[in-house]
Amino acid sequence: MTDFFRDDQAEAASSDKLGKFLIGIGRAIAGALLFALPMLMTMEMWALGFYIDRFQLLLLLLVNIPLLVGLAHRIGFEDTFGWREDLRDSAIAFGIGIITSTIILVLLGLLKADDPWHEILGKIAIQSVPASIGAMLGRSQLSGDDDDDEDQEDADGGRETSYAGELFMMAVGALFLSLNMAPTEEMILLSYKMTPSHALVTIVVSIALMHGFVYAVSFKGSHELSSSTPWWHAFVRFTLPGYIIAVLISLYCLWTFERLEDVSATQILMSVIVLSFPGAIGASAARLIL
């Protein structure tokens, strides 16, 4: 009798765990859809599937792995404590990204059975990157559970994020928006339309918005400075490195999507400045949300 009772309890606990896991998977799919649909429905992304240089594509897929592990370490499907769980969560997110992208591409009539294999593979591979980031973020951002943020709290109830962690989150935010926009022709077209004077103002506006988003405007999750710290402390330590991260991520995305070939250095810089504008917004939004 007692044995039976214990079994029953264990079964209930394990089915509860399974239920939680399935809910996590559901949220991940929702996240993947939410974040990847704009790219799945962008013409340039379909074309990129077959013309993107395979080395650049491989590098993008490889870069995505440490990115997902880092994200899993901070958020993830379940409260994780070790790198093994983080690796498992990243694999699940990448898998959901691949499956979701495949299903949507088939649904939209973009993948056909008689397409060449390398084209099918290329299309899915390139879409799986934003979808997997979406899957990872979906788990944390779409859940309303109270128990989500309980991990990593120290004795006085505050959570500490290392400086590298802050910069990492900014990189994820910047990458997210940059990935969405870099494949479109509009990015280079804008850089051709803008004069250097426009670009100068764009740099200043990007940096000002970044700082304003995080410190001046009181959103939920805003960062505050203790009254004894002058404002430029945070500006130098967080905003300026954040902008440079957005710039580097923009450069990487444009290079990945082959937007920089045979173009003069000044034109490259102009395109990077254009793409860094959404990148900077993404970076500061990530600091607030994640």
Partner: protein
Amino acid sequence: MTKSQNSSHTETEEPHWIEWATGIASGILVIVMIGWVAKEAWRQTDAPPDLSTRILKTEATSGGFRVEFEILNRSMATAAAVTVHGEIARDEQPVEESDVTFDYVPAESKSTGAMLFKTDPTGQQLTIVPTGYTDP
């Protein structure tokens, strides 16, 4: 380091030196970027696109001949929808013509393309010239 408490974050008052080092290095990079663009703004003229072409090489393909060429834009203005006309002539009489359009030839940059002919252009008069463009 940043300390999060009740969804608002307070930056620590005694940051590690590496935070300052990163911040200052980033600041220098931003200043270099601004300086570079400012120099370009200073150099900026209203000159329209200045296009020229150069034939790179001719080779036989399975269906005829391919002439690779590059198109150079020396001005600081980008040209869009650049049409390029190619012509093979023998004794001043056009033998074969071909056209190609470039989406963009960015400022101070070069783009490459190719024209396909059925006639072998070697030994003939081959001209490849830009014929028009739009402002982006």
